[in-house]
Amino acid sequence: MANKIPNRQVICDTLLDLAKGDRDIMVLASDSRGSAAMAPFADTYPEQFVEVGIAEQNIVGISAGLAHSGKKPFVTSPACFLSMRSIEQIKVDVAYSATNVKLIGISGGVSYGALGMSHHSVQDLAVMRAIPGLAVVLPADRHETKKMTEALVKHEGGAYIRIGRNPVEDVYDSDDYEFIIGKAVTMREGSDISIIAAGETVRVALDAEAELKEAGVSCRVINMHTIKPLDKEAIVKAARETGRIITVEEHSIHGGLGAAVAEVVVQEHPVPVKIVGIPDEPAIAGKTSEVFNHYGISADNIKKIALEMLGR
């Protein structure tokens, strides 16, 4: 794998750039500045940095207060704790009171590996997307992370972002494409079947597409980087034009990307949908690649499912 830059570092670099011209940008950490790769920001802009210690409820409440006072707080805290421990502060102090707080969930999904279920965040999308007024975004690679961070600084209102811990392979050649929160990106055109993925599973979907192409299948790949507001148009179009959909996510099969897509499909244009993700159990211990393979979040398994759906 060529890319060695983790998405967390891209967020720090981008915020470092933007904070020069915008003194309202603030970064908060909960004993997490190292794992968030935010130490350079803390060192460069100490007046725009706040450390709260190991206190994930406090960090969201403090951020809501800062936002209410005109600041643009970026909370950086492990996705598992930020999305669960702080959920009421997020629902009430961020979403309900409509404060401009950006919640960056780091080391998300299963990227904490063998640290176990306390450290996995595979229910976060289900919880976050049920909260009115909160945007939910998962960038697929470093290029998208940069564009997303720039968009977030301009975006007014609460947002939850989930990134993983380790560098991920590029899915874009450059950042020369249009990124709009709420607008999916069609990575590959295709007419037989659609794969809809988000975050680190976009890479897996692209690999599956390559295998399917060899098998003579025309496969569309959609990067649904924003889970909320959801790009319904892209989903309905995929259902209408390709007739079958596979969703792939680093999340429980309940309530996440697959569920969001299925909600649209059954109500707008019913076609078969298969949901690939983490089953309803504490995820097995292991590295991301091991966990993905174990649960069939892999090009091979997606190809198999696609061929079954196509009756081949």
């Binding site: 004993d31 450390e51 709260v52 210690g53 190991i54 598992c80 306390s118 450290h119 292991g286 590295k287």
Partner: protein, 281 residues
């Protein structure tokens, strides 16, 4: 166990956990070293437990609220025979039960921890049940000092005093470090003893790497009727490995081959001196 034997045992546990972390290439080294003496005192002397009967109703309960220091716990449970020692090589590997935090699918572990700030409330519940059922068991809960920033710790502290749980013992591994550096720089805690005392706890402050002090403090509990006890165990993060002591990045640093060799030779010398100390007595 007598104190000299306990000291030798603690040195052995430190070596075991360093080998395990080195083999797995992952682990929370600093915190496991700082609390190795506390756990050795609890498991080899203070707590009423039976490795042959891990669910024995009257056993004392141990809750690792600072669940990330599970390495010392895995090594102790294996040493005591809760599960085969060979299993330690599976630590953090694909499909293992011995994950990087306590997992109660393994005999000897009461509760799954890892998210900081949960353990004391769980311990209050257990101590309350022990009181209501007159079961007589005690509950020992080990917390980190960085962990004290979680508000839930203080909600549980209030409840422990409210219900007069003198069978409840909170222990703080006061090593003055957390991931980002000194606890007092990250989120100041001092005067921490006063805070606990003002919450109604019987506070005992000791050197938490000194076996005599640990034995004296822990043998005495329940020490005051109707009050929970808080042992402020002043420790050194990375204790026992000279080059890891008080160095923040050893929180989850993994020893290299050379570092492992150096650490093992330091600890072997220490262990042998304690074994001799035991024979002289």
């Amino acid at each position: 166990m007598e104190t000299a034997a306990l000291k030798a045992k603690a040195a052995q546990i430190r070596m075991d956990l360093l080998r395990m972390i080195h083999g797995a290439k992952t682990g929370h080294t600093g915190g496991s070293l700082s609390n190795a003496d506390i756990l050795t005192a609890l498991y080899y002397r203070v707590m009423n437990i039976d490795p042959q009967n891990p669910k024995w109703e009257k056993r004392d309960r141990f809750i690792a609220s600072k669940g990330h220091s599970v390495e010392s716990l895995w090594c102790i449970l294996a040493d005591l025979g809760f599960f085969p020692k060979e299993e330690l090589t599976t630590f953090s590997q694909f499909g293992t039960r011995l994950i990087g935090h306590p997992n109660n699918k393994v005999a000897g572990i009461e509760m799954n921890t890892g998210a900081l700030g949960h353990g004391l409330a769980i311990s209050v519940g257990m101590a309350l049940a022990s009181k209501r059922d007159a079961s007589g068991y005690r509950v020992f809960c080990l917390m980190g000092d960085g962990e004290q920033a979680e508000g839930s710790v203080w909600e549980a502290a209030m409840a422990g005093a409210h219900y007069k749980l003198d069978n409840l013992v909170g222990i703080i591994d006061r090593n003055r470090l957390q991931i980002s550096g000194s606890t007092e720089d990250v989120m100041g805690l001092d005067p921490l003893e006063d805070k606990w005392a003002s919450f109604g706890w019987n506070v005992v402050s000791i050197d938490g790497n000194d076996m005599e002090s640990l034995v004296e403090a822990l043998d005495a509990v329940p020490s005051i009727a109707n009050k929970p006890t808080l042992i402020m165990a002043n420790t050194v993060k990375g204790k026992g490995v000279s080059f890891a002591e008080n160095v923040p990045h050893w929180h989850h640093h993994v020893p290299s081959d050379e570092q492992l060799e150096m650490a093992l030779s330091e600890l072997t010398a220490l262990m042998e001196s304690h074994i001799q100390e035991g024979q002289v007595r």
